[in-house]
Symmetry: C2
């Protein structure tokens, strides 16, 4: 076959494969044809380096090749990491990302849902603190970290095992008196399981464990969570020595703040007390960890979300999918 | 007028204003009508709290109310900050953000340009290291930090003055022997002016200034910029004392690395040497600065980009728009 001077068309593919235009169209649009025909068409596509025009394709099968991604705030490095990897996974499949950074304004989320209902986007991947987000069952959707009403599957880290892992690591490193610190949304989400797993592991190992669990002060401007944590730690400080020697914080962000607080109280990290966070965030996105941490598999989570959005829903679609976490040393523990 | 029980329509607006439906349509779509009519329609829109349906509007005036935003990598906190504020500015104007995180793969950028040419998006805001990005003149576009070919206006921080400000602050804080350190793209962009402003201010103040300017090792895997900087600093270390007492780094990221390097060399920051970065990034997006820094006005830059994209191009559209920077103390200087 002579070298093409312009981009090959579906007609060229049909000619090269020796099949009808309709057969090429069926193969491209995923409609079953005889195995022999499918192979011929695929070979011709390869030979000609034929690129499927996704816009034309979209017009035919009513797809936009765009997925709406709802995140609370891109300034938070965990959310921007989620956006980065979801974008990468979408691009792999020839999809684009309509990104909605809600700034915690939930009316924006509902607009995205409306777009999905009007087939302006092919689906929604949402990480939200809005307990009232309603997505109709005919819209493809995936939630990260929390259960939404309806039949939206949820993708999360294995938070429970992450909590267990944190307790085990602290005990392995010689800690005997543990504490769990949390500040977060009062909404019950997957992340609450970090505490449950931590407490269960402490009980199983027969290790003391104190809990300080604060809810976000959505409606109370005078509430200062760091003051509460300082009061908690001060209670445990006797003659300049903390009677807690291992702390698990619900996020790296909190761990970072607690390490600063401990330093200001004259308590040495990790010699006097070891601290583990959760998320696996890195300084400037790719440098050192902020603290020793339970690393969320964000890239795998993003790929899982995209695979769920693009797959045909079926009886085997899971309600919850938890991906394995790992421990990373980041300087705030002894190992 | 009785209270509406359902959302008001254009017909309701026409009735309230006492004008024809066509007049309402013209006002909504920005087509000139008599001043008196325009006022009547605008008053009726206000009275009824009529919301323009942007999808219906889009169908009529060939707008998508979507702007493509091209960024290199959302893991980098500067780029995720840019995305956050552009999204906010777009939402203010009833627009949505199609976000393209290229992962430095420039074919993705060209796809966005194609979409804009096909009117799938209304414009492009791009921050790119691709010197070959071609945007046709009939596509509305704005570039951040670098000049693109064609008539794309460029929005940037006042990088030159930022460099001057850094030199002035270091000298104000008692420094007498300054250095500028840079690692970055070999492409000439707005950020190169940080050095120019710094050097000019040093010359004006009669202060010694050394330059170490490295290009990104795009094609040389063995090149380690931090080793180069270490060699540079070691040359200036005599009997454990650095003969440089003030360093301006081209980014906060580099400043953070240089501070770590100096500590490992036994040099105290800020007592022995003061360090200023550039960008104004905060730990976890909203906590303390990583270092003393020249703060880029990212929110104002984002709003400027969006205003330029949405405005009708005219003879007064600038080629370059530089927004004012400021200095922030972040612990790596004496004040």
């Amino acid at each position: 076959m002579a070298k093409q001077t312009t981009a090959p068309t579906m007609k060229d593919v049909a000619k090269e494969a020796g099949v009808s235009l309709g057969t090429v169209s069926k193969v491209i649009n995923g409609i079953p044809v005889g195995e022999e025909y499918r192979k011929k068409v695929e070979q011709a596509i390869k030979t000609l380096d034929y690129r499927i025009n996704s816009y034309a394709k979209g017009l035919k099968n009513n797809r936009t090749y765009t997925v709406a991604v709802i995140l609370p705030n891109l300034l938070n490095p965990f959310f921007s990491m989620v956006a980065h990897y979801i974008n990468r996974a979408l691009v792999k499949h020839g999809y684009r990302m309509l990104l909605c950074d809600t700034d915690y304004d939930y009316t924006k989320e509902q607009e995205m849902v409306q777009m999905a209902e009007q087939n302006k986007v092919d689906g929604i991947i949402a990480l939200t603190y809005n307990p009232d987000l309603k997505i109709s069952p005919n819209v493809r959707s995936v939630s990260i970290d929390r259960y939404l009403s309806g039949n939206t599957p949820c993708v999360a880290s294995d938070n429970y095992n992450g909590g267990r892992l944190a307790a085990q690591k602290l005990v392995e490193n010689g800690c005997k008196n543990l504490a769990f610190l949390r500040i977060g949304s009062p909404i019950v989400g997957e992340t609450n399981k970090r505490k449950d797993g931590f407490v269960a592991a402490c009980e199983a190992m027969g290790v003391r464990c104190e809990i300080k669990n604060l809810n976000d002060p959505w409606d109370n401007g005078n509430f200062d969570p760091m003051k509460e944590f300082e009061a908690f730690l001060t209670e445990h400080l006797h003659d300049g020595k903390l009677d807690i020697d291992g702390i698990f914080c619900v996020t790296d962000r909190l761990a970072y703040q607690i390490v600063q607080l401990l330093k200001s109280m004259g308590v040495n990290v990790p010699d006097d007390v070891q601290v583990i966070g959760f998320d696996g965030l890195r300084t400037f996105g790719d440098m050192n960890y902020y603290c020793s941490t339970i690393v969320q598999p964000v890239e795998a989570m993003a790929e899982t979300c995209v695979n769920l959005i693009l797959a045909e829903p079926s009886a085997t679609t899971p309600a919850l999918l938890c991906l394995p976490v790992s421990y990373a040393y980041g300087g705030t523990t002894k190992a």
